[in-house]
């Protein structure tokens, strides 16, 4: 190899190293900003917990005005907006969080819940699927997906997710209830009764399981679904989406 080529090779190695160094320094600066944002977010959480909701949101919005890339602050803001019932603003913030931090299972699950509140059931199912993909060992995520799929009338997905919910959260009554509803939707009344009984075995006073069993006895063939409604916090609220037995 020619001497000049070798010298060029040396220069390239140095140039790449210097470029990486600059990149790392910039990333480090950003990381320090994130640490600061984390502290502000923790402070906002305390404000929110003490009932000072507006102050908490204002503090986070102020931080985001200075540092718009702060995922921590944006996530916290979204959670607080959601807790205050400002669904549209929360959804907007959560979408931004997922844009910069697409592996955040918690944000995806929250966005699914918020979209459900806004009446976008298919959008909610999409984000619930994302949350399950990112956090597959969390049975509650599968239970939520199963509940959403049930309400959308997607029997296969509801059953599949319900089975996973029970697999990863077999000690949680809501997981069995979600599977029970999925089986009911699939026409398997006996299987549904078994699932509701499993839930009752775990929590004999579970109103959701008792309610579901009563409704199952009244409509053993298929669950009488209402139009998709806008309130779902967790699987145990599923029964609220069924028409009343009376």
């Amino acid at each position: 190899m020619k001497r000049t080529s070798l010298q060029c090779l040396l220069c390239v190695a140095v140039a790449v190293a210097v470029a990486i160094f600059v990149f790392v320094l910039l990333a480090e600066t950003r990381e320090r900003a994130d640490t600061f944002a984390g502290q502000v977010a923790a402070g906002a959480q305390k404000l929110f917990a003490s009932g000072q909701r507006e102050e908490a949101v204002a503090a986070l919005q102020e931080l985001l005005a200075v540092s718009p890339d702060s995922v921590i602050a944006r996530r916290e803001l979204a959670m607080e907006l959601s807790a205050s019932g400002q669904w549209r603003a929360a959804a907007e913030q959560l979408r931004l969080v997922l844009k910069t931090s697409p592996r955040d299972a918690g944000a995806a699950a929250k966005l699914a819940e918020v979209l459900d509140r806004l009446g976008d059931l298919q959008g909610a199912i999409g984000y619930a699927r994302t949350a399950c993909r990112l956090d597959p060992e969390n049975g509650l995520r599968w239970a939520a997906l199963s509940a959403l799929a049930f309400r959308a009338g997607e029997a296969n997905e509801a059953a599949r997710s319900g089975q996973r919910a029970v697999r990863y959260a077999q000690g949680v009554p809501e997981a069995h209830i979600a599977l029970g509803f999925a089986r009911w939707l699939d026409g398997d009344a006996a299987g549904a009764a078994r699932s509701f009984s499993d839930a009752l075995a775990l929590d004999p006073a579970s109103p959701a399981a008792l309610d579901a069993l009563t409704r199952l006895r009244a409509h053993p063939n298929r669950p009488p679904l209402r139009r998709p409604s806008t309130s779902l916090e967790s699987a145990h609220l599923i029964s609220h989406h069924l028409e009343s037995v009376e």
């Binding site: 190695a13 140095v14 790449v16 990486i20 790392v24 597959p136």
Partner: protein
């Protein structure tokens, strides 16, 4: 060099050579310095960790270009030490033992409990050897060692730690014996073996009995290479056949110890071509023989496991690790900085360590022209070829020296490279010897220090298991053991695993019977419960959610399955 610049021949060449040398040293100094600074800055969890291996790649490119610019100044003189063999061997043995004496009383951590449980439950050596370990692995030699440990010293952890040190001693001696033949200098071989013996990158396989498979695999692999070199150089026909048989048997044993040996046939070809001691026929015969043994091993493995086994890796994973494995390995070898530990000595101490490491690497780079090109390719090729299987084992960049057990065998090539450079510099060997001695002492001290997290990890694991076992005895009777959902178990302590796996097996071993235990953790684990799920989990009578408190070593009951579930400590009745 260009012909036009050569006019006043000798003087011009000499000036150009000096300029090239200076340019190379300056360039490599910049890259080395940036590499250590980035090593200091980048945290193990950072998403920018790919930068580190890219920097090592820059360093490699600079080294290749610089070596080419500097040319070769290797001397043909023999650099042998006047030391007698017992002294040479004794130095290697001591270097391999002393840094690890503190690890003998460390106890078991993580996977150790699972392997000990398999060994305990196996009724015969054959049953243990048939076991596929904790996941779909097939390592009969390793499992036989675990079974023997259970029968010979009743599975006491100290026995396995002592065995690991003994294996490391044997491996270091093999590194010396092989280096003596490949470098052709007892001084170079000794330095290589000493560096291998004391290098802090080898703390994980030495302190973790579950990683003994790496020590066994390296031992059989190096023995196989030694027998191969004897085969290449032996004149007697019978001796050659015997040596080749020994090499192949050792290779098979290495394969049955750990899958890292899969790449050994590549090294066999490299040693045959670049070792300079074999004719083409010998290289062809040995290469084909190794491939036949490898094929037979793979067939048998698939027959036993019903597939290749190992970790199930998606194709996308290969795209992310394919080029980075050997670079990470080389980077960790050149800059063995345990970020978590070094952070404890303050910024000035940190920077002093980094400056020392940078100086050693520069010293090594400046001496590359003393190593013949053939051997240089052999050492680098050794690392790259043997690092191939480690790519399949999810080797990730880490500043706390996790997963470095996969570096144990490949880094032999880098130890030889260091020894070769030292041998080349040993014309004024007193000065070179002092520098080498400082490097070795520095490495030994780092090793002794890097062993300490393993000691603490062993203590934590022991206290968690003892606390859990105590609670089981208190809460349950002999026929009705309570079901424990355990949270707060320390997964790792400063890079050393504590109870990332196998807590149920540890409890079974401690209690002496099967105890239903489930670990509350977000990490994917068979039988584990996600921490987000646990608050909604309804406990049945006889079930307890308990929390381990590492500070006090106590296991606290957080909630139980109702009043009816409370068992009396004496009778175990509800």
């Amino acid at each position: 060099m260009t012909a036009g610049r050569r006019a006043p021949a000798e003087r011009s060449d000499s000036v150009l050579a000096q300029t090239d040398r200076r340019a190379f040293l300056l360039a490599s100094a910049v890259v080395v310095w940036i590499t250590v600074v980035v090593r200091r800055l980048v945290q193990p969890e950072a998403s920018i960790s790919w930068t580190y291996q890219t920097l090592v790649l820059c360093l490699l490119v600079a080294a290749i270009a610089g070596r080419w610019l500097m040319g070769e100044r290797a001397s043909t003189e023999s650099r042998d030490l006047a030391w007698r063999p017992p002294l040479l061997w004794g130095a290697v043995v001591l270097a391999a033992i002393l840094p690890y004496l503190g690890s003998v009383g460390n106890g078991f951590v993580s996977d150790d409990f699972g392997l000990a449980m398999i060994a305990r439950e196996s009724r015969s050596a054959a049953e243990a050897m048939r076991s596929t370990g904790l996941i779909a692995f097939y390592r009969p030699v390793t499992m036989l060692v675990w079974w023997l440990g259970d029968r010979l010293w009743h599975g006491a952890p100290a026995g396995y730690h002592l065995l690991a040190i003994a294996l490391h001693v044997a491996n270091s001696l093999l590194v010396y014996a092989l280096g003596r033949r490949l470098i052709g200098s007892s001084y170079g071989a000794l330095v290589g073996a000493l560096l291998f013996a004391v290098h802090p990158l080898h703390v994980e396989p030495l302190c973790w009995p579950a990683a003994m498979s790496d020590l066994l695999c390296a031992g059989f692999g190096l023995a196989s290479l030694l027998a191969l070199l004897i085969y290449h150089t032996s004149a007697a026909k019978g001796g050659r056949a015997l040596a080749l048989s020994g090499a192949l048997i050792s290779f098979a044993l290495a394969l049955f110890s750990k899958e890292v040996a899969l790449a050994l046939p590549g090294v066999v070809v490299l040693v045959g071509i670049l070792g300079g001691q074999a004719d083409r026929r010998s290289v062809a015969v040995s290469g084909v023989s190794y491939v036949v043994v490898l094929a037979a091993y793979l067939w048998w493995r698939m027959h036993v496991l019903g597939g290749l086994g190992g970790y199930a890796l998606p194709l996308s994973f290969w795209n992310t690790v394919f080029p980075s494995g050997p670079l990470l390995l080389m980077g960790d070898f050149l800059f063995p900085t345990h970020t978590t530990l070094l952070a404890r000595i303050g910024p000035i101490g940190w920077w002093l360590v980094l400056v020392a490491m940078a100086a050693v690497v520069l010293w090594l780079l400046a001496g590359l022209d003393r190593v013949p090109a053939r051997r240089l390719w052999l050492w680098v090729g050794f690392v790259f070829v043997l690092a191939v299987p480690s790519w399949t084992f999810r080797w990730q960049p880490s500043a706390s020296f996790e997963w470095t057990r996969f570096a144990y065998l490949p880094t032999v090539g880098l130890a030889w490279l260091f020894g070769d450079v030292c041998a080349g510099r040993s014309i004024g060997w007193r000065r070179s010897g002092v520098a080498t001695g400082l490097v070795l002492v520095g490495c030994s001290l780092l090793t002794v220090w890097y062993v300490t997290p393993w000691t603490q990890a062993g203590r934590l694991a022991r206290s968690a298991v003892q606390a859990g076992a105590g609670l089981v005895r208190k809460l349950g009777g002999p026929d009705h053991p309570p079901t424990l959902y355990v949270r707060g178990l320390p997964e790792a302590y400063q890079g050393a695993p504590v109870l990332a796996n196998c807590y149920p097996q540890a409890m079974n071993l401690a209690v002496g019977r099967e105890v239903p235990v489930r670990v509350v953790t977000a990490a994917p684990r068979s039988g584990g419960v996600h921490p987000d799920v646990m608050p909604f989990w309804k406990l049945k009578p006889g079930e307890y959610l308990v929390s381990f408190e590492a500070n006090t070593g106590a296991m606290r009951i957080v909630r139980s399955g109702g009043a009816a579930g409370t068992r009396s400590p004496a009778g175990g009745q509800r």
